[in-house]
Assembly symmetry: C2
Homo-oligomer: 264 residues x 2
């Protein structure tokens, strides 16, 4: 039951910050969870194939690295700062986490290389994202697997604000024409009021009540936001749990399908 | 005797890798030299002015950080690698140097923030550079001083190759319309056969003999290359020594003027 989309063979995989870090301890990697995700990626057809071009881009969240510093400095996706020390505190923490992820992927045989959004991405005064893909696209064409992360980026009139990993995923998927988009969360999918995985979501209204009610959806850092972000994407995406990374990369259809249906 | 160019009030300052590092000891900062450059920058009118926009972009070279690793892995501006471990070795060393430079500038009151070229810049198959300026331009508009560095970048058909700080300087100057461009080298300017500073250079042929002959010009890592790069720039630039950073930023005209005269 493989699902495919438009574009080429590109898969964009997001590893949630709460999946790969211990969210309760500042700047602590969840070694077992990261090792499991790395193993699933290293064994996947996206890495194994014989094309010269890499068919995978990885984005990870902040977890106990970026979020702690962002919170300390009062910075969010809408609240900015002009303090350069806040920029380097948040960005530096995310680069430390990114370095761990990239190193572990390389050690497992994945040609991972770091890409830091602050160096390339910006928001204008209407919060629209400018996301040049020269580096990501060219690295991928040369066989490297770009590994991006939630970060702070310049934001007109605000200094810098946070860009989430989810927003990078949809921005890259739109611009690069990803065939498959998957978000690995701490939960096995978007859960309904009874805690069961919703099979597919095509509009927000039908699930708003469940997303608002369920405590269990909040541990991943805002499931409602993820669903809204993915519904706006002009291609289908999936939200699934840590155990399903391998299945997703193999072409299976775990977790919840999010498909807003807009194709422009 | 101030020299001005077109564009707005933007100054681009390059700090040579051999100026701010001890080139003979791997990954060693020249603390005194960096402190002097940082002090000159912090006191300069480019930082002191009252505009909300930062009027300065800083680029630094690799010195004993990037060059050692690039050499170990056989990577240069023309010789590439597809080895992800080589990418992170070279890029990681440059990020360590960049972090020191940014931290010292911040400690001196400069709103410095890091910008890593690997995340944004790429070369095509004809080695033409794609250098998106969304992040650099937006950071600057918000009052931050972007601090870039020589790096490895994706290069079509080659994996990654080195982009020098000098090439970033001219690329940014062209795209952002810098009013003033200055390269701080270890020597007080481009030296003639007698070791005297040449006042101005408008074509390469007139100085080729001196640049080829003089041992003293080689310590900065290829003065001939710098001169050629700056002659191709559609605006005047200066090469000067470590003692002249403050004078240059104050609007004076130290060292050697390089002006190829092309204005397109």
């Amino acid at each position: 039951m493989a699902d495919t989309g438009g574009g080429d063979n590109l898969t964009i995989l997001k590893l949630g910050g709460s999946v790969i870090t211990d969210k309760d301890t500042p700047e602590t990697v969840d070694d077992d969870a990261l090792a499991a995700a790395v193993a699933a990626i290293a064994e996947s057809p996206a890495i194994d194939d014989e094309s010269d071009e890499a068919n995978l881009i990885i984005v990870h969240g902040g977890g106990s690295f970026g979020h702690v510093h962002a919170s300390d400095h009062g910075v969010s996706t809408t609240e900015g700062t002009h303090d350069p020390a806040a920029v380097t505190a948040i960005h530096g923490a995310m680069k430390r986490l990114n370095s761990v992820v990239v190193d572990r992927l390389q050690a497992a045989g994945v040609a991972a290389v770091p890409v830091h959004p602050l160096s390339a991405v910006a928001r204008d005064g209407e919060a629209a994202v400018s996301l040049p893909t020269a580096a990501v696209g060219s690295l991928r064409a040369e066989g490297f697997v770009p590994v991006l992360h939630g970060d702070v980026i310049a934001h007109a009139g605000q200094g810098v604000t946070v860009i989430s990993g989810d927003e990078l995923v949809t921005g890259l998927a739109d611009r690069l024409g990803a065939a498959r988009v998957g978000l690995c969360s701490t939960v096995p999918g978007v859960l309904d009021g009874e805690g069961d995985v919703i099979e597919s979501i095509t509009d927000f209204e039908s699930v708003a009540a469940a997303l608002g009610d369920s405590e269990s959806t909040d541990v991943s850092g805002g499931m409602a936001g993820k669903v809204e972000e993915l519904l706006a994407l002009a291609r289908p995406a999936r939200i699934f749990g840590p155990d399903a990374v391998g299945a997703f990369l193999a072409g299976d259809a775990p977790g919840t399908l999010i498909d807003g249906g807009s194709r422009d």
